[in-house]
């Protein structure tokens, strides 16, 4: 095996994303577009969480905007955002050389393995909402967590077979590292040499400010509570009707609505547990039904 080498740095945030996309496309992944719903993590895209279930092989990669209302900081924190991007890769079953494929993806975006310290540090991933867990690592580059690397073991409370390998890149953080930028809003979004150079702040700063105000001050809790109940009953009804995909959509909606209520500080820890339990029932119920139907379709 020859010594690995890195490419030159990407020109911009979007260039970094494009490189990851073409790299994973070359590994046979379907390059999907973001799911058109608010989710808290790229994993929750049905292309990962539902496709990890059932017997069929699957490879996909995509960017997913993630919304975490409680993490919003009015655009004032250089590291924290209420809306940010994750790049998500799922390979089912995981190929035996997935670690190498992953490391090559880092070289592809300009991280030189000869001068940087890349480590796989134990971090077992768990998402109780969808009844999923797996073993893997946080991947560190010079002490910075740049990815989460997981071998799914269970989804929707069911053992998965075959096992999927899942990679999540925190894109802003990774880009800040690659470009040596200390403030996310200073990231070059497009090529700084282009005719209209845009920074990450040009694209998103105002959005962070207004969304933060919504998340923490303006969200109408009573309305959200009603929405939550509505999403819950719709999801249950869809499950009853044997339609796990839209049932899962409404579980996602309920989950996001709950996150908004939570960000408003409107619920006590006890109520919080109850809400989480309700979302979990919806997501798990949909996932279980999907898995069952996939098995039937494959049989």
């Amino acid at each position: 095996m020859t010594a690995p080498t890195a490419r030159e740095k990407p020109a911009s945030f979007q260039d970094l994303i494009l490189r990851l996309q073409s790299y994973w496309a070359a590994q046979g992944c379907a390059i999907l577009q973001p799911y058109d719903m608010e989710v808290g993590a790229g994993t929750l895209h049905p292309a990962t969480v539902l496709r990890a279930l059932g017997p069929k092989d699957w490879r996909a990669a995509y960017v997913q905007p993630s919304r975490r209302p409680a993490d919003a900081r009015y655009g004032e924190n250089p590291n924290r955002l209420g809306h940010y991007y994750q790049f998500q890769v799922i390979l089912k079953p995981n190929p035996a050389n997935l670690q190498d494929l992953y490391l090559n993806s880092l070289y592809e975006i300009g991280i030189d393995p000869m001068v940087h310290d890349i480590r796989f540090v134990e971090d077992d991933w768990e998402n109780p909402t969808v009844g999923a867990w797996g073993l893997g690592w946080e991947v560190w580059c010079d002490g910075m967590e740049v990815s989460q690397y997981t071998y799914f073991q269970q989804v929707g409370g069911l053992d998965v077979f075959p096992v999927s390998g899942e990679l999540t890149y925190g894109l802003e953080r990774l880009a800040m590292y690659v470009f040596g930028v200390d403030n996310v809003y200073n990231l070059p979004f497009n090529d700084p040499a282009s005719e209209v150079p845009l920074s990450y702040g040009d694209v998103f700063l105002q959005n962070e400010r207004e969304q933060s105000a919504f998340n923490f001050e303006l969200a109408d809790v009573d309305m959200l509570q009603t929405w939550f109940t509505g999403c819950e009953s719709q999801s249950k009804a869809l499950r009853e009707a044997g339609k796990p995909l839209p049932a899962y959509d409404f579980a996602l909606k309920a989950s996001h609505v709950f996150n908004l209520i939570d960000a408003r500080g409107a619920i006590s820890p006890t109520e919080r547990q109850a809400f989480i339990g309700r979302v979990r029932d919806l997501a798990r119920g949909a996932a279980e039904l999907w898995a069952k139907q996939e098995e039937e379709r494959a049989a």
Partner: protein
């Protein structure tokens, strides 16, 4: 003689699991070989982030030949028996069996089977897959389409015996003679023929330091030297050293720098941020003893640029972490602790026991009450208790739960609380482990005790007690903490009074109201100085008994009975912790039992008694008196059982017939009086000294007097004398529990 080398090469093994896996693999291989009848000279094991390896040295080419013998029936036994024997032993004719003679049983058949030794290759090829499949990891996983479980995907199995590959397959993974080195610096793969070869190749071209111990020493030394070169000092951290030893195959120590402005943060925050998030060692300025604006990171690569990019990158990450911490530090200090404390009413302590705010109320009241006993101002103790839990809602403790208490202490100082209050807040969770020190300031003692007692009483009240190895709420630790705080500070409290009061106050429904009132009355008298602590304890115990009797009189309330059982159970739990503590300090188990049987609940006095009793029994008089006691107690036990009554009470002097009876009775009266006086003064050595004067008259009594006299009134009187020996000695300890 030849060597076997086994290497299981996988993706990164969690650092915390490596050392045990290394030992387990070695043990499994040793055991398997031993069971196959293979002897060897020694086994050596190695482990690191991506591999477990064992080399077994001095192995034979095959296992030893074995003769298996199977005993059969007597010569001339019925045909059926012989047939059965032949079938069982796999023989076709009885001529194949040997005939042996036994002087008692006569001649009988023996089937002898020669089992030839097996080639070691075959044994290993069977053994290794079995070990791998049955290996225990704290958490294991499947991958791809396989069914095999390992801690992370297993990539290669290297298995070489005497220079040749031992062929086998584990779930489609074929054994071979190749290994890989450091992923970036010397990947290979390399072909290996022997252990020597393995070590040489991996440690040179492969860039892997194979032995844990070597890596640990290397990191430790490099870290110290690197600091020393800059006039700095490493802050030692053994746990972290062990962890980073499992995170690098080729450790390279790098000294990084951070913005000195961060040093205004509490040092605990900086160190924890470094340690938990980044696995960095902190660095001190040896002149001042304060943290220096540096850190030590252990990288896994000798970087082409000499580590510049790694140092810079890590420094940037640490800055971001500390920025976060500074945000919490600044933000938290904007809110007074009283305000934070209000939010505690939204957090459950434990569903059945109310919110943390409820707990704070209880702890504040109890701390107030304990304060005078430990030399603290009640108002100050209450203030500290009211603020002690406030930091649980602070941003910093949300981020670093380990800093609970510590941050509260800082915030209290910042808002101008008295030193004693701030210290008590910071220390009230202590001791958090066996090696942690115990609070020693009066206010800290009051709050730390109150907090733990409230937790214990509460969990006992709702019947959530530790079982077996399960102790999710760390109640054993809390009780041991109480014991240590009391003993190491010589706090004089009776656990009965201390434990029962919180029961009543917690308003736990199971307390029978009437009994509570009775207790309150007792407590009132005790508070007013009318009752001594011992009297109060006795009355409280009696009130429990009384309540039990009332229940027995069909008042029909089982709740109170339950409470009294719960209280006794909790006291027994404390007793167990105390025993554990004393045993660890080297005290005799039976002596602890002997003192405990007295029902004493002042831990300081219990320890003094145990110490005095130990010294007493070491003496000649003590040992002989114990023998005399045992003799008396044995006779009493037998006779009391026979007569169906206890021989308690004073003997009648008019019935003394022999001088030895009178002498003993008088000696008992005298020494009991002297012992009682000494006990009042809590001078247990003196009390036991007083009793040791009983030895000659006891010995003389047993030499000269027949206890089982023919005249019943004489016999009864003599048994009463024995009873008073027992009674006298039981004043210092229950000698029946003492091993002879």
């Amino acid at each position: 003689m030849a060597d076997l080398l086994l290497e299981l090469f996988s993706e990164e093994i969690p650092a915390r699991m490596q050392a045990k896996a290394e030992a387990d693999l070695k043990a499994a291989l040793e055991k398997g070989l031993a069971e196959a009848g293979v002897e060897f000279e020694r086994a050596v094991a190695l482990s690191g982030p991506r591999r477990l390896a064992v080399c077994v040295e001095g192995l034979p080419a095959k296992s030893a030949d074995v003769k298996e013998e199977k005993k059969g029936p007597k010569v001339g036994a019925p045909e059926k028996a012989v047939e059965g024997f032949l079938r069982g032993a796999g023989l076709t004719s009885i001529d194949e069996a040997e005939v042996r003679s036994d002087p008692k049983k006569g001649d009988f058949y023996v089937a002898v089977r020669e089992v030839p030794g097996r080639p070691l290759q075959d044994i290993v090829a069977e053994l290794v897959p079995e070990i791998v499949r049955g290996f225990h990891w704290p958490k294991s996983m499947r991958w791809g389409r396989g069914e095999l479980r390992w801690v992370r995907p297993l990539q290669r199995v290297l298995c070489v015996f005497d220079g040749k590959v031992v062929d086998f397959e584990i779930d489609s993974l074929k054994s071979g003679n190749q290994t890989e080195g450091h992923r970036i610096m010397g990947r290979g793969p390399f072909e290996i023929t022997s252990f020597e070869d393995y070590k040489r190749v991996l440690e040179s071209d492969g860039c892997v330091v194979l032995s844990r111990e070597d890596r640990r020493l290397l990191i430790d030394e490099q870290a110290h030297v690197t600091c020393l070169e800059k006039g700095l000092e490493l802050v030692e951290d053994k746990g972290l050293l062990d962890e980073v030893t499992g995170l690098a195959e080729w450790p390279v120590v790098i000294l990084g720098e951070m913005d000195p402005d961060f040093l205004t943060l509490p040092s605990e925050v900086i160190q924890l941020s470094m340690r938990t998030h980044q696995k960095y060692f902190a660095v001190r300025d040896p002149k001042t003893g304060d943290l220096a604006p540096n850190f030590v990171v252990v990288a896994n690569i000798e970087a082409a640029d000499g580590g510049e990019a790694i140092a810079a990158g890590n420094s940037r990450v640490l800055s971001a972490r500390l920025d976060d911490a500074r945000f919490f530090w600044d933000n938290d200090r904007k809110m007074p602790l009283e305000e934070m404390a209000k939010k505690l009413s939204t957090i459950d302590f434990k569903k059945e026991l109310g919110t943390i705010a409820d707990k704070v109320e209880r702890v504040a009241a109890l701390a107030r009450e304990l304060a005078p006993k430990v030399g603290a101002e009640p108002d100050v103790a209450e203030r500290a208790a009211r603020l002690a839990k406030a930091d649980l809602v602070s941003g910093m403790v949300g981020e670093f739960p380990e800093l609970q208490g510590v941050m509260g202490g800082y915030y209290a100082r910042e808002q101008g609380e008295a030193d004693a209050v701030a210290t008590a807040i910071a220390e009230h969770y202590k001791p958090v482990g066996a090696s942690d020190d115990v609070p020693s300031e009066p206010v800290s003692i009051a709050v730390a005790l109150a907090d733990k007692l409230d937790t214990l009483v509460g969990f006992w009240a709702i019947d959530e007690k530790p079982t077996g190895s399960k102790d999710p709420f760390a109640l054993r630790r809390a009780a041991l903490g109480v014991v240590r705080i009391i003993l190491e500070n010589e706090v004089r409290v009776g656990l009965q009074t201390t434990v029962i009061r919180p029961f009543a106050r917690a308003g736990v429904r199971i307390v029978l109201q009437r009994a509570v009132e009775r207790q309150d009355k007792i407590q009132e008298l005790f508070d007013a100085g009318v009752l001594t602590e011992n009297q109060a304890n006795r009355l409280l115990l009696e009130s429990i008994e009384q309540a039990n009797q009332e229940r027995d009189l069909a008042l029909g309330d089982e709740a109170w009975a339950k409470t009294s059982v719960v209280i006794q159970d909790l006291l027994a739990f404390f007793a167990d912790r105390l025993k554990q503590y004393l045993r660890d300090a080297g005290a005799r188990h039976d002596l602890i039992d002997a003192v405990f049987a007295l029902g004493e609940d002042d831990l300081v006095l219990i320890v003094k008694r145990v110490e005095a009793l130990g010294a007493f029994l070491e003496s000649d008089d003590g040992a002989n008196l114990l023998a005399g006691y045992k003799r008396a107690a044995n006779i009493l036990k037998a006779e009391e059982k026979k007569d169906g009554k206890a021989y308690d009470g004073a003997p009648d002097p008019k019935l003394f017939e022999q001088e030895e009876e009178r002498a003993l009775a008088e000696a008992i009266t005298e020494s009991v009086a002297a012992a009682e006086a000494a006990l009042q003064a809590e001078d247990f050595e003196k009390a036991m000294g007083a009793l040791s004067s009983l030895r000659p008259p006891v010995d003389a009594f047993f030499d000269a007097v027949t206890v089982n006299a023919e005249r019943p009134e004489l016999r009864q009187n003599r048994l009463l004398i024995l009873g008073s020996i027992r009674d006298a000695l039981h004043r210092v300890a229950d000698f029946s529990k003492v091993a002879a």
